[in-house]
Amino acid sequence: MEIRVNAKGLQCPGPLLQLSNAVKSAQAGDRVLIEVSDFGFKKDIDKWCKKTGNTLISLDEKDSILSAVVEVVRKA
């Protein structure tokens, strides 16, 4: 399953909380696609995935929006 989260317009800690909640409600193997306009999220998501053991599949930047895909390995 793919879960899409629109976290545009949210500032710290909004995007990270939204991601965390989405991962909590997902099953292992699901993918969360989150869109964010806060560029501070770039470093946060990388560290968060490493610490929680989820996989950051991709992190792209287009038209000043960050799009990240996280594969759920375990609940956050």
Binding site: P13, S37, F39, G40, D44, S64, A76
Partner: protein, 553 residues
């Protein structure tokens, strides 16, 4: 007919000559310079190495031939002035190409001899591949080595602007680059916690940074080409290109030897009209001093912006006008990869050395509305006089726009503004341009809160040093669970702000308490709560975890 001679032809000299031509249309104006080029953008040289500026000619503002045709100014390149005779009003010049001496008579003399890179004598310093960067020829030399793949490992010595810009451009060209800085920080004139933000960014971008180390010798191969550098700690760094950028010194010998007074900074002393102690001889640009706007003393800030403004003022005054150069604030700005940094006025150290009792603040914010895509972080440090609340200085660093807020700050400081004045400025606002409360106004508001005792702060550098010194702190991380997971300061207790009132019993009100969150806003709210509850000393971590430059756990 008035004869005007200008010695030196980069920024200040050519600007003064051009202005003199407009003020005195019938005069004879001659510019002599030992350089091959005139009127070029010295500040653009690092970007020529990086290939961002493709061709040499793009750096040249105006060719000598055009000065003659359009301005009627005679420019003599490769002509080195060797002696000034103030009584006879003559200057002796060597034509470096023809190796002949020439003598020029003048009625007015403008000295704009600039500055030269300072390179100490040491073993191996003359080896092939060790360069300075001051002239177009220097830049050409470095660029050619890079273009010909003759630079596989580069060393840059010095963490000032030129060193940093060269390092960025070498990394940009894909060359593994190490920068060695003798001081404990790069970016002289910036406070340590601001410089550390830049250092971390440079390292993230692939630059290897070595601080607190001096290059003491170079070693070469049998052909005389540099191979490695030795540091004072005994380390050896391999490098087939080394750029020495530990600063410049004003070129004052020509002036000194004819009796012109050199000031305490080592540059030529001038009055507010940019005239030296000898009437009719003006000095301008990187060879001359200026007054500091906030300190009652001369300073030497060799900057292209000053050279141009002062050049114009000399043009006016040398032609009989009277225009003052009131003083400088040491304003500067630099781009380092994705980061922008700017400063003006006094740094914390400069303010303390000048005897000010100061309060400072460090506040992260954004450059545009948070819902407008493309906004970026900018971090503002302000320094103010505790008694009068007068703003003394500021530094702004971040991926966002820094030039606008720093120029607002320059203007404010120039007109004697207080912190309160900053908080109510009617600045331009629409989402694509600014936050409704601009980053500068937000920083001024927090500083006002500090000045009125509403909140106390601690800088990351101070916290780190005092923890290293074994001091006891009660550190509380007020962020949410997912944020806490990604890293915090070692030993920090995790109590989300939403739980602070219910878990206040877990904290000791007698211990020095430091609150932290990502930016500082939640810490501020928490500090109000704990102070109200009778905690003895509560401080917020200024800049939050965002600007905490050390390792987290």
């Amino acid at each position: 007919m008035m004869r005007i001679l200008v010695i030196g032809g980069v920024a200040a000299g050519t600007k003064a000559a051009a202005k003199l031509r407009r003020e005195l249309p019938s005069s004879v104006i001659t510019v002599v310079t030992s350089d091959r080029h005139v009127s070029y953008a010295g500040c653009g040289l690092p970007y020529f190495i990086g290939g961002i500026i493709k061709e040499e000619r793009e750096l040249v503002v105006k060719a000598p031939r055009l000065f003659k045709e359009e301005n009627g100014i005679e420019i003599l390149t490769l002509h080195q002035a060797v002696r000034i005779e103030p009584e006879a009003k003559k200057v002796e010049v060597i034509d470096l190409e023809k190796q002949v001496h020439k003598v020029f008579d003048y009625d007015l003399l403008v000295i704009s001899t600039g500055a030269s890179p300072f390179v100490p004598r040491m073993e191996g310093i003359d080896l092939d591949g060790i360069q300075v960067l001051r002239t177009i020829d220097d830049a050409r030399e470095i660029r050619d080595r890079v273009d010909q793949n003759a630079a596989r490992q580069a060393l840059v010595v010095g963490g000032g602007f030129i060193g940093l810009e060269v390092a960025e451009n070498l990394v940009h060209r894909g060359i593994p680059t190490t920068l060695v800085e003798f001081q404990p920080q790069i970016l002289p004139g910036y406070d340590l916690e601001m410089a550390l933000i830049a250092e971390n960014h440079l390292v993230e971008k692939g630059l290897r940074l070595i601080k607190n180390r001096k290059v003491v010798a170079f070693e070469g191969d049998p052909l005389g080409k540099v191979q490695n550098a030795k540091l004072d700690g005994g380390e050896v760094l391999a490098a087939d290109l080394a750029v020495w950028a530990t600063g410049v010194r004003p070129n004052v010998e020509l002036a000194r030897s004819c009796g012109i007074v050199i000031g305490p900074t080592g540059a030529i002393q001038v009055d507010e009209r940019m005239e030296t102690n000898i009437p009719g001889i003006f000095a301008v640009g990187d060879c001359a001093e200026n007054q500091h706007l906030l300190l009652d003393r001369p300073v030497w800030f060799p900057m292209g912006s000053t050279a141009n403004k002062a050049g114009r003022i000399v043009g006016i005054n040398a032609s009989g006008g009277s225009k003052r150069m009131p003083g400088l604030l040491g304003t500067n700005i630099v781009k380092l990869f994705d980061l922008n940094a700017a400063r003006t006025g006094l740094s914390t150290r400069e303010a303390l050395e000048a005897g000010f009792d100061i309060e400072t603040v460090l506040v992260p914010a954004n450059d545009k509305a948070h819902y407008y895509p493309g906004y970026r972080n900018v971090n503002t440090k302000l320094i103010a006089d505790r008694k009068t609340h007068r703003v003394l200085g500021g530094q702004i660093i971040g991926e966002g726009v820094v030039d606008k807020p720093i120029d607002i700050l320059v203007t404010a400081i120039s007109f004697g503004a207080t912190v309160e004045d900053l908080t109510t400025l009617d600045l331009a606002y629409a989402p694509p341009f600014s936050m409704a409360m601009s980053s500068l106004i937000t920083a001024a508001n927090v500083l006002e809160n500090k000045l009125t005792g509403k909140v106390q702060g601690i800088l990351p550098t101070e916290l780190f040093e005092r923890m290293e010194g074994g001091e006891d702190f009660q550190i509380v991380d007020l962020r949410s669970e997912p944020e806490f997971i990604i890293g915090t300061i070692e030993g920090a207790l995790h109590i989300p702000l939403t739980e602070l009132s219910s878990r206040i019993g877990e904290l000791d009100p007698a211990r020095e308490t430091v609150l932290l969150c990502k930016y500082g806003k939640r810490s501020y709210l928490g500090a109000r709560e704990l102070t109200h509850a009778g905690f003895e000393k509560v401080e917020i971590l200024e800049g939050g975890l965002l600007l905490y430059p050390y390792e987290t756990v």
